[in-house]
């Protein structure tokens, strides 16, 4: 009954130091294709 997660490879396209302790990472697909839609986008 374990959750199935589809895993895939991405490349970091940007890293930004947002605060002394927090970094923001931007992730893109290596082949330039669109990323999978998340459940949050269904609303």
């Amino acid at each position: 009954m374990a959750n199935k997660y589809e895993m895939f490879s991405v490349r970091v396209s940007a890293v930004e130091q947002a605060t002394p302790l927090i970094k923001r990472f931007t992730l893109v697909r290596e082949d330039g294709q669109a990323l999978p839609r998340s459940a949050a986008a269904a609303m």
């Binding site: 991405v10 947002a18 998340s38 949050a40």
Partner: protein, 277 residues
């Protein structure tokens, strides 16, 4: 979403903070945790532009309630990240919303500038502890509309304060939603876990997880992606005994049913716990 390094040494769960409808990229915010198991230290110390990572599809663990007449979002520190994704959905929508964002001191207010300047400017209030600007939860809840829903994300003390404050104000549990950030250390006394399939008995010491106890002696193979009670991959059936649940995956009803537990965070409420492994 789950994020792993290419070697698979680190695996952590992070919230998507970019627009969920924009599929050209994902963004995550990662706080460097002093008590890091390695995940945030790796992200901060070794990940740079060009680094390859393995990730999962984002999974919405913290959805807005479509029945709410108003969304009241309360963020503490890094707990702002899931709300940043939700704000994209709320923007221009029919349901009014407000964001209350508390942090330690001005330099720790991540993404404050974009919140102040962007389309949400009129909906956001900042509370900065070092400047004595504190969030008054009692006042906030006292003025809450009857159809408003409250969402809180941040450190455990903030979540506890919101849950207790909402209860004191007579706000029904269904109107209060929370997501804990910076996994609280699951505390509790030592106990014995029995792996039913092999009959092996393992001692889970104080400060150790069932997952670690199993891995230390390679008693069984357990898949666990997030290692913090979020993803559900290490869910295992309980055959005897009761669990003290510390995960955010099972619902309250599922926790009360004592049918299964997450090996990465949950502990035993009984001296002995027999699991289907």
């Amino acid at each position: 979403m789950i994020v792993q390094d290419p070697a698979g040494s680190f695996s952590n769960a992070y919230s998507l903070m970019s627009d969920p409808r924009d599929l050209s990229h994902y963004q995550i915010g990662v706080r460097l945790e002093e008590q890091s198991r390695g995940g945030s230290a790796f992200m901060h110390g070794q990940v740079e532009v060009g680094t390859r990572l393995t990730i999962s599809t984002p999974n919405n663990l913290f959805a807005l309630d479509p029945g709410a007449g108003r969304h009241v979002l309360i963020a503490g520190g890094i707990g702002i990240t899931p709300f940043l994704a939700q704000l994209h959905d709320l923007e221009g929508g029919a349901t009014p919303y407000e964001l209350h964002y508390a942090f330690r001191s001005p330099e720790h207010g991540a993404f404050q500038a974009e919140l102040e300047q962007g389309p949400h400017a009129g909906h956001v209030r900042f509370y900065i502890d070092s400047l004595g600007r504190k969030l008054d939860l009692a006042a906030l809840f006292a003025g809450l509309a009857a159809d408003a829903h409250v969402y809180v994300c941040g450190p455990k003390p903030l979540i506890d304060a919101v849950i207790e404050g909402a209860k004191a104000a007579g706000i029904a549990d269904e109107r209060v939603h929370w997501e804990q950030f910076a996994a609280a250390p699951a505390e509790g006394a030592a106990f014995t876990v029995v792996l039913a399939r092999s009959g092996r008995e393992l001692r889970v010491e104080e400060g150790m997880t069932i997952l670690q106890a199993i891995e230390n002696v390679k008693a069984a193979k357990v898949e666990c992606l997030c290692r913090e009670g979020v993803c559900g991959t290490c869910e295992t059936a309980i055959l005897e005994g009761e669990a003290e649940h510390f995960d955010q995956y099972l619902s309250d009803a599922e926790k009360a049913a004592q049918q299964s537990l997450m090996l990465c965070v949950s502990r035993a409420r009984t001296a002995r716990l027999v699991i289907d492994l």
